[in-house]
Amino acid sequence: MTTYLLRDVSPLGGERTDVLLADGLIAAIGAGLEAPQDAVVVEGAGLVLLPGLVDLHTHLREPGREDAETIASGTRAAAAGGFTAVHAMANTTPTQDTAGVVEQVWHLGRRAGWVDVFPVGAVTVGLAGERLAELGAMADSEARVRVFSDDGKCVHDPVVMRRALEYVKAFDGVVAQHAQEPRLTEGSQMHEGVVSAELGLAGWPAVAEEAVIARDVLLAEHVGSRLHVCHLSTAGSVEIVRWAKSRGIDVTAEVTPHHLVLTDELARGYDPIYKVNPPLRTQADVDAVREGLADGTIDIVATDHAPHPREDKDCEWAAAAFGMTGLETALSVVQETMVDTGRMTWADVARVLSTAPARIGRVDDRHGRPVAVGEPANLTLVDPAARRVVRPEAQATKSVNSPFRGRELPGAVVATFLRGRATVLDGVPCDDDVAATR
């Protein structure tokens, strides 16, 4: 196994030092380390070393929609974006609602070798919201599922939600809720407000998200369970989560990169590349989620990477699919909106993109670890000074539905290491090396 010496890197943006990776672990840290024979030296002056990023919300589309993404292509994109672990959402075909399907996804992830794939289990059979899937079987499977979500659909029935919150306590699981009151959002196309009124697109009101979050935090308090709120998007949702945390309720929340920067004004051109669920909100909401992320109300950034084949976006708005890709732009968007604006440090970035999501997903024995001797070498090396123009066709993901096409973003992933093996080096996926591990 190749030994790597990362020279002059800044762990979490701190003081420069050398970091030696050997046998899958961080073997030594210190200035002026001697490079062992055969070691590959990575010159890291000006680069920031982070714990490998962990995405709690990825759609890998396999099984079922391999035309949009496969586990191999999606995890390669994840590595290119600096991730060493992703949680694969359950809305596949067939649904990840049995031990058999989650184990299939887990095995395909292992075989691909780019990142650790942790399948998310469906809360209800077929995401139908009616009866609980076999959560215990998925938890006890080889995939060791701890995160359960009907993402794409809301567990809207309060009794079903209560039961799920209670039931997963037996194996320290968490329910990750896609908060969307279905009746208030029938046929909805975009955020309900000034822009939707003018465009004549059916509105997705903020209250449809906030009402479900309010109900769920109270349910979680009542039954003493932990709750995770997916892709929180409104100022009101931030306030509700802040209030819940102040009451001691065990709730965590995520925001997507796109909700940190894009607004509903982008719908004006009717380009469905900007159609996403929950929808892009207003500038006031963007400001609120940034503030919530900075002050810790929002625990993590998760991509909600949602690849779609070209034809599902090459049409009129109402006919288009919801969703945008995000794995390969997430870190840059966080840098642009949170670091370069002075709201967060690189240590905070490590927290919201690695440590906290690993803890919520209960994979913090392997991921989201400190940059310290003896820890597993799951690491990401970032060049914050780089600038790049997003070209979706040049990305590793199979789909091109990036809302950042043509936009210049700061920061670039230089290298990603999974258990000491490089999956990305010099900004390029290490196809041969990763294939050799299969």
């Binding site: 196309q189 309900e192 407000g193 000034v194 822009v195 939707s196 009124a197 003018e198 465009l199 004549g200 697109l201 059916a202 509105g203 009101p205 051109g269 009717y270 034809e311 090459d314 049409c315 009129e316 708005w317 109402a318 006919a319």
Partner: protein
């Protein structure tokens, strides 16, 4: 002007030019021979994804009176559920050499997508998209308002003038109405003051950004003596819970927002009554109002042809050739 997608894209001068051109077109329609050679050899496609016989035949008549070749392409149902996509349909029409595509679609923004996608090189005319815009309807409404209410009530030629100072009440299902959205923007651009009147459930969230007033009480608005009232079609199914449950019953709607004989009588003498059709007699408008001398509803239909002739002429001939060459005595008429 390359396309006509939204009245929000029109300046005051562009809008007045369309109305003036429509006036010239209307004058030619009083002749025995109504057909003009202006668009001879040009092809206009009526691409209708949604049924609308009246709008389609209005555009068809307009194009034919200008001697354009007309292709009617009816593609009912959504593009996704019924097979061919909007893109492939557009590419097909482009391959057949459409100079203009008149599109009616149930999805808001579909004409915008067609115009900006590069799928067609022709001019795109929005003939109604979802709950967004229906610009030629608003233009024909403005034309009708100007004819009756500007220039000493039709005694003088209103050419070159806008609707400055007029007060227009638009009454009904604003939430789902592309006619209301188009009219609010156009009438405001032309200097009129618009008051929307509807039950609160049928007013969109976000309406506060629109350049108009909103009232929930028709009687209060009629007391302010508007120059015109425009009644919007209200679909009966909107009251059912499956349809959204927007109002409790047709009777309650009619009591609050219907233009009945009493409200008709309370309008000032010069006020006109408008409706884009088709009407629900007895729901939003009574027979008394629909058939009264102040109703200009049938005239709106006639004006629609003149306005659509003007739009096709300005888009396709670019205003370069005269609207109506004087008949040449040495040539036989077509």
């Amino acid at each position: 002007m390359k396309h006509l997608l939204s009245t929000g894209d029109l300046t005051r001068d562009e809008a007045v030019l369309i109305l003036d051109t429509a006036g010239q077109m209307a004058a030619t329609q009083a002749r025995e021979i109504k057909k003009l050679p202006t668009l001879r050899g040009r092809t206009v496609v009526n691409l209708f994804f949604e049924d609308s016989t009246r709008t389609r035949i209005s555009f068809e008549t307009a194009a034919k009176r200008l001697s354009a070749d007309v292709i009617n392409f009816s593609a009912k149902g959504s593009s996704v559920s019924k097979g061919e996509s909007l893109k492939d349909t557009a590419l097909t029409l482009q391959a057949m050499g459409a100079d203009a595509v008149v599109i009616r679609h149930q999805a808001s923004g579909a004409p915008h997508t067609l115009a900006t996608s590069g799928w067609t090189h022709g001019a795109v005319v929005n003939a109604g998209d979802g709950t967004h815009q229906h610009p030629t309807q608003a233009l024909l409404d403005a034309y009708t308002l100007r004819r009756h209410l500007v220039g000493a009530g039709g005694a003088q030629d209103p050419s070159g003038r806008d609707l400055d100072g007029l007060h227009v009440a638009i009454v009904g299902d604003v939430l789902h109405s592309r006619v209301a959205r188009s009219n609010v923007q156009l009438l405001h651009t032309l200097g009129a003051h618009v008051t929307l009147v509807a039950p609160p459930t049928l007013v969109p969230v976000g309406v506060e950004a629109w350049p108009c007033d909103v009232s929930y009480r028709l009687d209060d608005v009629i007391d302010t003596k508007p120059d015109a009232v425009m009644m919007l079609r209200v679909q009966r199914e909107r009251m059912s819970s499956a349809g959204g449950g927007f109002f409790p019953s047709p009777l309650e709607y009619t009591r609050g927002y219907g233009l009945d004989a009493r409200r008709l009588a309370a309008l000032p003498d010069h006020a006109i009554v408008m409706h884009p059709g088709p009407m629900n007699r007895g729901l939003e408008i009574s027979a008394d109002a629909a058939d009264s001398p102040r109703a200009v509803i049938v005239e709106q239909v006639a004006n629609g042809v003149a306005v659509r002739m003007a739009v096709l002429y300005l888009l396709l001939a670019g205003g370069q050739t005269p609207v109506a060459p004087q008949p040449n005595p040495n040539r036989s008429a077509e």
